[in-house]
Symmetry: C2
Subunit: 271 residues, 2 copies
């Protein structure tokens, strides 16, 4: 079963549109954009389209790439304090040299649909948050749709990054899943991947996980994106789909659902 | 090598005493005590003794066992706002029926030496905290003393609880360790424990981990405590010491160092 992320996102989009139009509320997402990296701009474009489709306003605040950490944090704090902004995100990736967590910590709990501030992380990982980090929400949606059992299953999380590995591992641990987090320091990654009922990867290395590294029936969720010579690849080789019971590929799997989850969080927060 | 937690704690105690006496500052730890469970009282007694030895004041605030969640949180908030209290902890275990995280979230970042609030957890797990949860600080002290390499090592964390498993796993993941978190739902726990370079257990089931479940040379750190008919047992059978390169037993291993770490955090926060 190949997960059709676009179709799932489309369903959520329709539901959100319906909800917003019924409530007659004005909802605004503020986006801080640092510099003008084309990748950043592309990600932002996708969000703008989604917002338009469901009737959410997007206000983009641009700052130059050479802004200092303190100035950037101040600016973000101003944006957070504008009442009309129901949620505030910083479009990633940020330029090198920026202390990402320091900046993101200027976003208050009530206006953090991306859930990237320390406070949101704390709420989430102590089980006190009503919303989930968007990528976790997306994976949860896929598991819910497929009725994937989590308790007692062996899950392997590949990569221990702030955006995928850490939040996904924290969530799965809370669900009673047996979770192993492996990274580039792990000596025999196949020892882990071959025994995994569930593999979730968020590294950004093209086709890192091959079909001979997984077992038949695995649930394989790709959250890694890399781009070279104009081609987008995931961490998980597409051949894995032949062995997997469920396979969420890149592109087209988790990605579109993650954007839908961002807006679902925004609407939740705006209530 | 059997870790002598008391000796390590004694060294830290002397250093803290020296530091406080040099700085001539008054430092006060506030402890909220709910009801009068004898286990709670016993843990508290140990902390009071440590505090006395280094010259820290302890102020105990008692509330009845049948207090409501809201009243308890209000009371804790009042205690936090008393200027003379440099740090505030709630003596655990709390009585059943209390929403622990809700209560603990009344403690501000600046006064949270136990690091049990959501905010402290967020700071810690996003790598933005100068101090560590005491049990993590204790394990880190043992590893530092023994020059235990963490990067690329296979660590197994037994139990996914709020006090041991979750913070220890989050910390190790950040250190580049390959971490597996197993719990009572895990089907073949030996598959994990037998391959582990490092085992850290925080379950509270007597002698859960036997010598035949670990490999020669393992670093075994026991953070589980259970008590029956007056005897305190750890999660890790004492026979494991025969195979382990480093073994921190219960009692006498991590426990005393954890208390020392609580006071080190308190002094750090009071600066």
């Amino acid at each position: 079963m190949i997960v059709d992320g676009k179709a799932i996102a489309q369903k959520i989009k329709s539901a959100l549109k319906e909800e917003i139009s019924r409530s007659k509320r004005k909802i605004r997402l503020a986006v801080l954009k640092v510099g003008d990296d084309p990748v950043t701009a592309k990600y932002l474009e996708v969000k703008k389209k989604f917002a338009e489709a469901i009737g959410v306003d997007v206000r983009i605040y641009e700052v130059p790439v050479d802004i200092s950490n303190n100035k950037l944090r101040e600016r973000l704090s101003e944006i957070v304090h504008i009442e009309e902004n129901d949620g505030v995100i910083v479009q990633l990736p940020m330029p090198a040299g920026i202390n990402m967590q320091y900046i993101l910590d200027a976003i208050t709990l009530e206006k953090d649909p991306d859930m990237l501030s320390s406070k949101s992380w704390g709420k989430f990982s102590t089980g006190k948050s009503k919303i989930f980090p968007p990528v976790v929400g997306a994976i949860k949606t896929i598991f819910d749709e497929n009725k994937t059992e989590l308790k007692g299953k062996n899950a392997v999380v590949v990569g221990a990054g702030r955006l995928v590995g850490k939040p996904v591992a924290a969530w799965l641990i809370g669900e009673g899943t047996t979770v192993s987090v492996i990274d580039e320091n792990t000596k025999n990654p196949e020892d882990y991947t071959k025994k995994a009922d569930i593999i979730i990867s968020g590294v950004g290395k093209p086709r890192l996980i091959k079909a001979d590294m997984v077992r038949d029936g695995v649930v394989a969720i790709d959250c890694g994106t890399s781009e070279s010579s104009g081609t987008v690849s995931g961490d998980i080789d597409l051949d894995v789909s032949k062995k997997a019971s469920t396979f969420a590929p890149v592109p087209g799997g988790v990605g579109p659902i993650t954007i839908a989850m961002l807006f679902r969080n925004l609407i939740e927060l705006s209530k």
